[in-house]
Symmetry: C2
Subunit: 384 residues, 2 copies
């Protein structure tokens, strides 16, 4: 049977019907009052989602493009920055900094382990001359399912006083409580194919007043990624360049859905999906890659023993049309990742776990009691 | 009556049903063999459309992002470049060059007039030390409907030998014969919401072997716009960053439609639409902004006398739900622009002109014989 795909990867995530139908509409002109009205509402709702009174800008780029814009708009060649790196995306922001000639210091942790806030505190406290201009943190590391302790790291950045905190929130925004103003997050980057529940193609960057101050003297070259242009246009409910009209119409629909669900419910749902998934995996006696204390609300990485990760993924796809993500780089075939981000319900987790039990059995994995995974997930759902 | 919009602007252009339905499909994972197969066919068809054996790369950006990538990947700070500027987009490439610290020399013409190839010849011939590293030309200037004489300018670039020819073909590719290899065009940038017949969101850049040689020593900083990353991934039928999956599925559909129609038919159709539109405007005794000898196959700009351009646009929208484009910057309210690019048929031109006649009459413009516009367009269609 075709066309019954269930996406359980950390992006693209499942897209609700309202967004699919919006995508299928004939585009309208982007220099019209009709489109400006849509942009005005989208901008308001983006601020609501980011819990900020400051700017949230929308670019026609992937999450990487958004994060790059969030870095290069506020820095100059040679600036010293600290970059947390404990997975594929942390490594990427190190590369971006290097590509632009920044003085990058990577603060690393093993893939699957969280960043140690004390290492940041040490560097920041030692920097009495205030040369560190920014600290870049991947909040939810998509490659490993680790949630870094942004709040504590950010408290050290605040004590430092000079450095900006720049956050890759690609798989945490819309899944985990990230109060941009309350925490004083200067730059937060995200992408549409995650918590936003629409296909890939849009990136978002929130910018604090402090970051706009830094923008004034930042000298890295930019044009398409120049956030000042987006700020100016957004204030007039328009865009500096032709925007991806259909994706924005879809976003218009999903942001309304999110407002209807409410932030607290959204965060509680992701917490519940995470807990149920992790309980189920434990119930199946499969090792989790990361500890519960640093588990991402969006992705659960499993490091199976006695059965190959990619064989599980392959059978899940073939037998049940469920797409799971694999491991990246040195974790390839060592882990599989279950995405539970965005338009994902309790029922989806039950489907996924029940199917996983069948796949494991068919692959000869016998270290579990049939039904134990589903029962463990069910317990979480019954209790929450 | 709602939802009967007819887009006659130079982008977004009308989108055929096959593409709309592809947009409405649930996204699939971008790291799957299913998606790689789509990418492989799309890449082949992009090469066909560009008439090149070299690379055509696809980025998640607007046309401006594609053109910027096409500039910054092949140059270093301080490099001398010539930029043709006779409209909004020519001016934009001057700005991009300046933003990156290039030594930009703008070669200008009045908006509505074509660039003079002799001015390029002069500069290029005088440059015996071969310091000019690139010549940037907007082929079809969207803001004015002027088609610049790329072939002649390029012949001077070829005589120079050192400089790259970088082309903004955003509203010419897929409308006008642009044989990338036969003409030796080093870099050609375009965008999805034009001749490609899908909504905005994708940019394209073709790159010649000579441009790849320049890439090796080019030093401008870049990451998301680094074409080397796209080349590497495209060779493996994948993408360096999460691609806009749904837009690519739509492009997959429209490129098949284009192949079915055939390049010669596509170009002949645009030539016919252009000729019919211009004949009709002349039949209505309305002045055209540009001369026939430099008329874009994609956009016709009209500079009405005795009736305000924006009043015409406004009434055309209100009365017939036909969207026409306005003038930009100093041409605001001085011209209106009829887009006839992409998924536009002979019938659409007849609809547009017939409606325009009604609108002109209602606005008190009496300098034409009712029916004369339609009759002039009909003559072109009957003869071709």
């Amino acid at each position: 049977m075709n066309n019954k795909l269930m996406l359980m990867i950390p992006g693209p995530t499942p897209v609700p019907e309202a967004a699919l139908l919006a995508l299928a509409k004939h585009p309208i002109g982007h220099r019209t009052s009709e489109f400006s009205n849509i942009l005005a509402e989208v901008t308001e709702n983006l601020k609501w989602l980011h819990q900020t009174q400051s700017d949230v800008l929308m670019l026609n780029v992937s999450g990487t493009g958004a994060a790059e814009a969030g870095i290069i708009n506020f820095l100059s060649s040679g600036d010293r920055i600290l970059v947390g790196s404990n997975g594929k995306f942390g490594e990427r922001w190190v590369e971006v900094g290097q590509a632009y000639g920044l003085n990058v210091e990577a603060i690393t942790a093993e893939w699957g382990k969280p960043l140690d806030p004390a290492l940041f505190a040490e560097k920041l406290q030692a920097d009495t001359e205030k040369q560190i201009k920014a600290v870049i943190i991947t909040h939810s590391e998509t490659s490993t399912g680790v949630l870094n302790d942004l709040e504590t790291i950010n408290s050290h950045v605040k004590e430092h006083g000079e450095a900006l905190i720049i956050v890759d929130a690609v798989t945490s925004l819309g899944a985990f409580n990230l109060p941009v103003d309350a925490w004083g997050l200067d730059v937060v980057a995200s992408g549409s194919q995650k918590g936003y529940m629409i296909p890939p193609g849009l990136g978002f960057v929130s910018v604090s007043p402090k970051a706009w101050e830094a923008y004034k003297t930042a000298k890295l070259p930019k044009y398409y990624l120049d956030l000042g242009k987006y700020r100016k246009s957004t204030a007039k409910n328009t865009t500096p360049f032709t925007p991806p009209v259909n994706l924005i119409m879809a976003l218009h629909a999903t942001l309304r859905m999110m407002k209807e669900e409410g932030l607290e419910s959204i965060f509680a749902r992701h917490e519940r999906l995470k807990n149920a998934t992790r309980a189920a995996i434990k119930g199946l006696n499969l090792p989790l890659l990361g500890a519960d204390s640093c588990a991402s609300p969006a992705i659960t990485a499993v490091a199976p023993q006695g059965v190959e990760a990619d064989k599980i993924r392959s059978l899940m796809k073939k037998r049940f049309d469920i797409a799971l993500a694999g491991g990246q780089d040195h974790l390839s075939n060592k882990i599989f990742r279950i995405g539970h981000l965005g338009f994902v319900s309790d029922r989806d987790i039950l489907s996924c776990i029940a199917s996983l039990e069948v796949a494991l059995s068919e692959l000869g994995y016998e270290n579990f009691t049939p039904g134990a995974g589903v029962a463990a997930a069910a317990r979480v759902f019954s209790q929450s």
